[in-house]
């Protein structure tokens, strides 16, 4: 009996089953096609908006704000706290580009530098690092940094003043001394109280506690 090209499974006259492989392959391919096309479309979308190094650094600064929040407290819902996987938003540092959550800042930053993340952002390191920096750019940058520093000093209100520093230090020392004195006094008081109570305990044990008679 010849296999029917339309039938996927045929049974011959001895009852042996055979499978039409071409038909299965055809079916599998037609099932996969839409997925492949969608994938390549998504990739094209990402690569279309290739970001520059400057944009990336700005984005990075924003994301790193999370790390700067270390030692602060945020209230979160129970449901989020219960989730245990990296995927999706959870407790920890969240990368919204890749939709991943990391448990500590070190892992998080490692992820931010990772090629997979950079690809998702649309940043091509090779293109960016080819840009040469000229001497003039370096000079301008340093001049700018110097200006910023001067402005910051001005904002802080004063130049470095040694006598002022010494005065502040002296005040600090006095305060520390005062604190220490208070602490010492507290310890002394406590010790005195302890020895007093210990005395009375022993006295009671020996049977002559206090002035009251124990006889009835």
């Amino acid at each position: 009996m010849e296999p029917n090209p339309d039938q996927k499974v045929t049974v011959n006259s001895y009852g042996r089953t055979s499978w039409n492989k071409e038909a299965y392959a055809q079916e599998a391919l037609s099932r996969r096609k839409p997925a492949i096309e969608a994938d390549s479309e998504a990739k094209a979308e990402v690569n279309a908006g290739t970001v520059t190094s400057h944009q990336l650094m700005q984005l990075r600064e924003q994301v790193l704000e999370q790390v700067n929040l270390i030692n602060t407290t945020t209230i979160i819902s129970n449901q989020i706290a219960a989730s245990n996987s990296k995927r999706g938003k959870g407790v920890g540092f969240y990368c919204d580009v890749c939709d991943l959550t990391f448990k500590d800042d070190y892992q998080f930053i490692t992820h931010l530098n990772h090629p997979a993340h950079l690809k998702n952002v649309g940043f091509d390191e090779d293109v960016e690092s080819q840009k040469e920096v000229s001497l003039q750019e370096v000079k301008d940058r340093l001049a700018m940094l110097k200006r910023n520093l001067a402005l910051k000093r001005e904002a802080d209100g004063k130049e470095f003043d040694l006598s002022d520093r010494i005065k502040k230090r002296r005040e600090f020392d006095l305060k520390e001394e005062e604190k220490r004195r208070v602490r010492r006094r507290a310890v002394k008081l406590r010790k005195r109280a302890e020895t007093a109570s210990a005395d009375s305990d022993i006295a009671q044990m020996m049977g002559f506690g206090g002035f009251l008679s124990t006889k009835t």
Partner: protein, 202 residues
């Protein structure tokens, strides 16, 4: 290439070799690995170019190799970054001689010591024997007060600096014999000469 990448991370790309090797090899492997894994490197050295590197360099507070927990200092992290970026020689010279940021001068001096040949190192760094600005030098758990001229002396005369093994240098006298280098004119000599000429005119 792929196997090379697996064994040595953080190689510099599109740069010319120095002393016959990829520039990052001038920092020994163990230090390099520690730097690449450090938090400062990952957070603050990522994606820098020669211009943005300066933002970090002017914020340096001290020089040195490792702290007491064996974490690399920002100073050597930026040193490795510079090796990766390989800035043009005129930029390095400019950074060495600018007078606004002393730790930037140190960084440039360190880079020059690692990358130039012996004669070049003597020629570029010796003038800095006249730079007496104070610097903080982290040595393990302690912070030591030092000066730029002391740091330069360490770079020129010892085999190690900032917990790094420095490339071997040819002796100065040998270079003078080969006429690759003029005898050094010390700052003290010029002071003495001017004193003499003043006293002579009296």
């Amino acid at each position: 290439m792929s196997t090379e990448f697996r064994h040595d991370r953080g190689l510099a790309k599109r740069v010319s070799k120095i002393h016959g090797v990829n520039p990052v090899f001038l920092i020994e492997k163990i230090s390099r690995e520690r730097i690449l894994d450090s938090f400062y490197w990952k957070r603050d050295c990522f994606g820098l170019n020669t211009a943005t590197l300066l933002d970090r360099a002017v914020a340096l507070q001290h020089i040195g190799g490792y702290d007491e927990l064996q974490r690399p200092t920002p100073f050597i992290c930026l040193g490795l970054k510079m090796l990766q970026l390989q800035p043009a020689p005129e930029i390095i010279t400019y950074l060495l001689h600018q007078r606004d940021f002393k730790y930037l001068t140190c960084l440039a001096a360190f880079y020059i010591r690692l990358t130039l040949d012996s004669a070049g190192v003597y020629r570029t760094l010796e003038p800095l024997y006249a730079d007496y600005r104070k610097i903080r030098y982290k040595k393990g758990s302690t912070m030591v007060l030092s000066h730029i001229d002391e740091f330069i002396d360490e770079l020129l005369t010892s085999e190690r600096s900032c917990d790094m093994i420095l490339p071997r240098m040819v002796g100065r006298l040998y270079l003078e014999d080969q006429e690759l280098l003029e005898p050094r004119k010390s700052e003290i000599d010029s002071d003495l000469e001017s004193d003499e000429s003043e006293s002579g005119s009296d």
